[in-house]
């Protein structure tokens, strides 16, 4: 629990989670948020777009904020500026999410503390898609150093 940055912890989060609220998901296919959400959809996750300026992205209805999402959310995955993170952490706590995830290039100690105090696990400065591909296969095919050494058949 707490801040998660190791292989076992990230793998557990990605194995236990199914519903991801993607805050700042862009409708443009070439944007990183779209890449990530489409990838996660294809790997069995539900990616719920949080974007007040769009109706529907990747076949899912868009919501203006995290609070408006009906039903439970496992991960609040944030593609927004670092200064917006504390408010998003409060929204994730209020929603009862399990993980507050800040994307690659985004970190906020203040937001992390808010989420941790609310009982959430926190990941920062990592891409949900890249971590899934690194830990569950896929990224290896792109020649990336995954850091995985194992003789287990996966």
């Amino acid at each position: 629990m707490g801040r998660v940055d190791d292989i076992a912890g990230l793998r557990r989060i990605l194995t236990q989670s199914r519903v991801i609220a993607v805050v700042g998901l862009s409708p443009n296919w070439y944007r990183p948020s779209f890449f990530a959400a489409k990838y996660m959809q294809e790997h069995g996750y539900r990616a719920i777009p949080v974007n007040p300026n769009a109706e529907e992205i990747l076949g899912e209805k868009c919501y203006p904020d995290v609070a408006a999402i009906p039903g439970a959310v496992d991960i609040v995955d944030c593609f927004r500026k670092p200064e917006e993170m504390p408010d998003l952490a409060r929204a994730a706590v209020a929603k009862g999410a399990k993980v507050f995830w800040m994307q690659l290039g985004i970190a906020s100690d203040e937001a992390a503390k808010i989420a941790l105090a609310g009982g959430l696990e926190v990941v920062q400065n990592r891409c949900v898609k890249i971590e899934h591909a690194r830990l569950m296969g896929g990224l290896h095919w792109a020649g990336v150093n995954t850091g995985i050494v194992s003789a287990r058949r996966t």
Binding site: W141, G143, G147
Partner: protein, 428 residues
């Protein structure tokens, strides 16, 4: 809990290869296939859009080749790697991902002859200008910088001059200029030196040499550190929508492996010097013993250098870790575990004695390669540099009496025996 950090030896054997999910095969399967089926039209579209990672066509990626790529990336302490058909192809892919027509590179004057020709002749035809400078002088690199300089290029250990690069000093110049330092680490291998630890940004190898280690297979590789700030304004091809790959912004989308993705999806995909899966398998077999071979290559080379230094038929010996060598201090800093298997020496009696020596060796192999498990020997003035005038040979660091040895893994006393009997015949 922090992840366990595996040692170099373990990575030589395991990095990049977990047992095959489909069959449980422990050894690396050879995926001898050109192409990979799509699950659906949508899956195909996602693969082509790079929205999902997977294999499409072996010119771009292949699971056997990927194991080699990840393993070398791990051994170098880098983020990602792209394998190529040869070392020459690898350095070309690295530099053509950085440079376009009108751009400029500053390179060490002591580069391997094949590399020198690629940069001075072929790149010149592409409109990429290269300034060659004194490899020992970081200020010469700095003074040669131009507004369109896109890379600094040098070798950990030069060949055949065996000059040791002050990587940290060049890295400081590169960092101030906002361009990557590209280091050819072929002669050292990541066992002896990991240039990223000294500030290099991209490493290239001829995997043919020590990594493969057995003289069976050609191969090359490009490794990126994952630490270069591609958004510093000097590399719009990394931050702007790609013309070569329908609008993808490589740095924004792939972050610290964006350079490797661009090199793969644009440079490799369009130029095509792909490594064959069987070659990747053979090279990977070699890498499994890199950590055992390099100490032996280095220890035998040092012992032979010391023996030759005291030999009456030898005028001079050049080996970086030999006491009193010009590069001894840099070698102790950058190559603390050994300086590799390559040494040069001068046979007393000039070019004619050099030829007599070469013709008298019994089991040392006379050929133009380095980094084999077997000991190799060559007289550059009568072979690799034969087409040059004596002045040009001297400029390339090749003197008439120079012999280059690539010390192998045979019984050291046997190598000494063959050298001694051939040196004796060279003096008749």
């Amino acid at each position: 809990m922090a992840d366990h950090r595996f040692g170099f030896d373990t990575l030589c054997l395991h990095a990049g290869q977990i047992p095959d999910a489909a069959t449980g095969a422990r050894a690396l399967p050879i995926y001898q296939t050109t192409s990979f089926v799509f699950d659906s039209a949508d899956h195909a579209a996602s693969l082509f859009n790079l929205q999902t990672f997977g294999n499409v066509y072996s010119r771009i990626s292949n699971p056997t080749v990927a194991a080699l790529e990840e393993r070398v990336a791990a051994l170098e302490g880098g983020r990602a790697a792209l394998a190529a058909a040869t070392g020459m192809a690898a350095q070309m892919l690295a530099l053509l991902t950085l440079c376009r027509h009108g751009d400029h590179i500053v390179a060490a004057r002591t580069l391997y002859g094949g590399t020198y020709s690629q940069l001075a002749t072929t790149f010149d035809q592409f409109g990429i200008e290269v300034t060659f400078v004194d490899a020992d002088d970081a200020s010469a690199f700095k003074n040669a910088l131009k507004p369109r300089t896109k890379a600094l290029y040098a070798e950990t250990i030069g060949n055949p001059q065996l000059n040791v690069c002050d990587i940290a000093a060049l890295s400081a110049v590169a960092r101030d200029a906002g361009v990557p330092l590209v280091i050819d680490n072929t002669m050292a291998s990541p066992f002896l030196c990991r240039p990223f630890e000294h500030g290099a940004d991209i490493v290239v190898h001829s995997v043919t040499k020590y990594l493969g280690g057995h003289g069976t297979t050609m191969g090359g590789i490009v490794v990126e550190s994952g630490k270069f700030p591609w958004d510093n304004g000097n590399f719009p091809q990394m931050t702007e929508p790609s013309r070569g790959y329908h609008g993808v912004r490589f740095f924004e989308t792939f972050g610290d492996f964006g350079f490797t993705m661009k090199a793969r999806m644009e440079t490799m995909r369009t130029l095509g010097p792909t490594l064959a899966p069987l070659s990747a398998f053979l090279l990977l077999q070699g890498i499994e013993t890199l950590h055992l071979r390099m100490p032996r290559h280095s220890a035998s080379a040092l012992a032979i250098a010391q023996h030759l230094a005291a030999h009456p038929a030898v005028e001079w010996v050049n080996y970086p870790l030999l006491s009193g060598n010009r590069y001894e201090e840099l070698a102790r800093r950058y190559l603390p575990h050994g300086a590799g298997g390559i040494l040069t020496f001068g046979v007393r009696g000039g070019a004619a004695a050099g030829v007599r020596f070469i013709e008298a060796v019994e089991f040392l192999s006379h050929l133009a390669n380095i980094g084999d498990a077997k000991t190799l020997v060559i007289h550059p003035a009568s072979t690799t540099h034969r087409q040059l005038s004596e002045d040009e040979q001297l400029a390339a660091g090749v003197t008439p009496e120079m012999i280059r040895l690539s010390v192998g893994l045979e019984t050291p006393d046997d190598i000494l025996w063959d050298l001694d009997q051939a040196l004796e015949k060279s003096q008749r």
